[in-house]
Structure formats: C-alpha cells, structure tokens
C-alpha cells in the first residue's frame, strides 16, 4: 500500500477516534499534542488501525511507537509482508 | 426502629471506638472528619455496631456506607 494512502486512512481514523476533524498528521505528532488522546482512545485507535489495515501489532512493536511517523512506518512494513 | 433511637444507640459506640466522649454524630459525619477513623478502626466500628444492633452488614451494605447517614439508613432497613 502506498504511504500516502496509509497516511490518509490513518488521518481518518485519528479524526474519528480522537473526535477532531481538524487533526493533521505530521511525522512528529505525538499523543501529548492531541487533546482526546488518552489511555482509552489509544486502545480504540490501535484497534481501528489493526482492523482497517488487517494487521496485528506485537507488544514490542507498540512500545516503539513514539510518533505518527513510527506508526506509519510500522503499518507500511506490516502491510508489505 | 426510629432514626432517633438508632442515633442514640450509635453515639456511645462511636465514642468508644474513637476514644472521644465529646463526639457528636451527624448524617454527614465520615472518616474524613474524625482523626483516628482509619480502615482499622472502621473494621472495629462495624463489628461493634453489628453487636449493638444484633445485625450483620452485607458486603454490598458496607460498600454503600459513605457516612453516618448511610449507616443509619442501612441499619433502619434491617428492622
């Protein structure tokens, strides 16, 4: 899947889960900058990503996600395989 | 049993458990208001109250007891 498509779909997930149509995904976007990104919405977001992209994340992989770029990279890598 | 009677019988129990002969119990009185009302003396209190009224509090009764008013209501419901 093209990286731009991944980013597009991810942006839609973020806007939906974090309830904010104005969210713009930057590579360096982190949880601390998004108002409704709390422990519950984080779980919902991960769940949606796994569903939309048909992937499953390992705990170690989740633990390395510090910003949106890491997440897009990980999705890209998993969707290829 | 009348609320007044319950309060009259509870007062000496509270005074004994918390070692305070001047303690006055009100509906809103809770652990936050009494210096030595901690989880340990709370268990003692429950036991003494059960003995005084010949009742047994169920676990769900205890969970609902936030203050003396709640306790009085629950005791009342057992008669």
């Amino acid at each position: 899947m093209e990286r731009t498509l991944i980013t597009e779909k991810l942006a839609a997930i973020f806007r939906n889960v974090f309830n904010d149509d104005a969210i713009i995904l930057r590579d360096d976007l982190t949880a601390n900058e998004v108002a409704n990104w709390d422990s519950l919405t984080h779980m919902l977001m991960i769940g949606e990503v796994e569903k939309v992209f048909s992937v499953r994340f390992k705990l170690k992989e989740l633990g390395k996600l510090e910003n949106v770029k890491n997440l897009v990279d990980l999705i890209e890598q998993k969707v290829k395989s | 049993m009348e609320k007044e009677e319950i309060v009259n019988r509870l007062t000496p129990v509270f005074r004994k458990v918390f070692s305070d002969n001047s303690l006055v119990i009100t509906d809103e009185l809770s652990a936050l208001d009494v210096e030595n009302w901690d989880s340990l003396s709370h268990m003692l209190l429950i036991s003494e109250v059960e003995n005084e009224f010949y009742i047994k509090f169920k676990l769900k009764d205890l969970k609902k007891m936030a203050n003396v008013g709640d306790m009085v209501a629950i005791i009342s419901s057992k008669f």
Partner: protein
C-alpha cells in the same frame, strides 16, 4: 528490628501483585474497571493482569519494576506501585498501559470498550512528566495500624529520588470515596490539588466513584 522486610517485587510476586491491583482498583466499591469496561470476569482479569505484569514493561502502573513488596514471615503482605512518569525518555504511561491492555485483552474487549469509553472519560487524568506517580498501595488487613504505611511511603520516595535526584513532586490519583487512603495521604503531606467529576451518572456502574482527586506532595530541593 522490624519483622517487616520491604523489597523490590520479583516475578514470583506476580500473583500477589495481581490481587493488589484488583483490590486497589476496586477501592471502596466492588467495581473493577478492568472487568466492567472490557466485559471480563474478575477471574479473567486476574489472569490478564498477571500476563501484563509478566511483560515487564517499565514506566507505568502495570510494570513489575514499579512495585515494592513488604514481606512478613516470608510472605508478601503489602504491594505498592509507583514510577516516575516519562523517565529516561519513556513513553507516557497512558500509552504503555494501553499498549499492554490492547495486546493482552484482545480485540473483542477493545470493541466492547468502544461502547463504554465515553462514560468514564471525564475522570481520565493526565500525569505530569517527571513526577513520581503513586498508583497502588495495598496492605493486608491484619497488618494495618502497624505504621507500615509510613515506612512504605518513605521507601517509595527514597527509591524514586535515587532514580531521579531532581524529583520535585509526587502525584496520586484517587477516587473521592476512598476516604481511608485519602487520610493516609494527607497524613503524609499530600494535599488535594484538583478534582475531576463525571457528568454521567452511569459511571457508577463501571468505576468505584464519579469523582477523582489528584493529590500532590512537593519536595523542596
């Protein structure tokens, strides 16, 4: 010489720690959020908590390394969990905890959570980075009233300062109806800093109470 031994928790303590987490989470109620928000039984939750602790993630409430145990006659009789938020570049604990739960509880549970999340969001509180977060503090009934809470609090702060000498603050999030724990914290120099109340009455079905306090203690360095 005290008959109590305070030490770091190890893998063998995990079943006891799971009981500590469950007792602490229920507080003064019988509501276990891990069960109510994810549609699990308490027995299932205990197994899942043990699995999460076994992952030995660092830096959140479900980290084995966050816990200290008190031993009496060779058996654990208290468990306390505390960590420094964001220490050494760690991810926010809310993310670490959520990763653990997502991964361990499974997608069916997360789908269930989706329908309930809105009820409890008012009492989800951010944790201040580089502060000590005190989350679990449970002493078995038979060992209350022995002054153990003071020793534990002291040890927790000592351990934290060893990890981060510049430590300026301890925070504790606690439901307002946990009166005995609140009293213990007040006695140890904590003050009520903020309060968060839920507008949704339904919250009583899922969490111990509808209002959560942030209690804080500051250190002068």
């Amino acid at each position: 010489m005290s008959e109590y031994l305070i030490r770091k928790a190890i893998v063998n303590d995990i079943p006891f720690l799971a009981d500590v987490v469950i007792a602490s989470e229920k507080g003064m109620s019988d509501r276990l959020s891990f069960a109510t928000l994810f549609n699990k039984t308490e027995a299932e939750v205990k197994d899942l908590i043990m699995l999460m602790l076994e992952e030995e993630t660092e830096g959140c409430e479900l980290s084995l390394s966050s816990f200290i145990i008190t031993e009496f006659e060779g058996r654990p009789i208290s468990g306390s969990g505390a960590w420094i938020e964001g220490l050494n570049g760690a991810l926010p604990s809310k993310i670490l905890k959520s990763n653990l739960i997502s991964y361990t509880f499974g997608e069916k549970s997360v789908r269930y959570l989706r329908t309930k999340a809105h009820i409890v969001q008012d009492v989800l509180i951010e944790r201040e980075p580089m502060t000590l977060q005190l989350e679990y503090f449970h002493i078995l009934n038979e060992h209350l009233g022995k002054g153990l809470d003071a020793d534990l609090m002291h040890r927790i702060e000592e351990n934290a300062r060893a990890q981060y000498p510049g430590l300026g603050k301890v925070q504790c999030q606690i439901f307002k109806n946990s009166v005995f724990s609140i009293k213990i914290l007040l006695r140890h120099g904590f003050r009520i800093a903020k309060s968060y109340k839920s507008a949704d009455e339904e919250i009583f079905d899922y969490l111990p109470y509808n209002e959560k306090l942030v209690m804080e203690k500051e250190f002068k360095n």
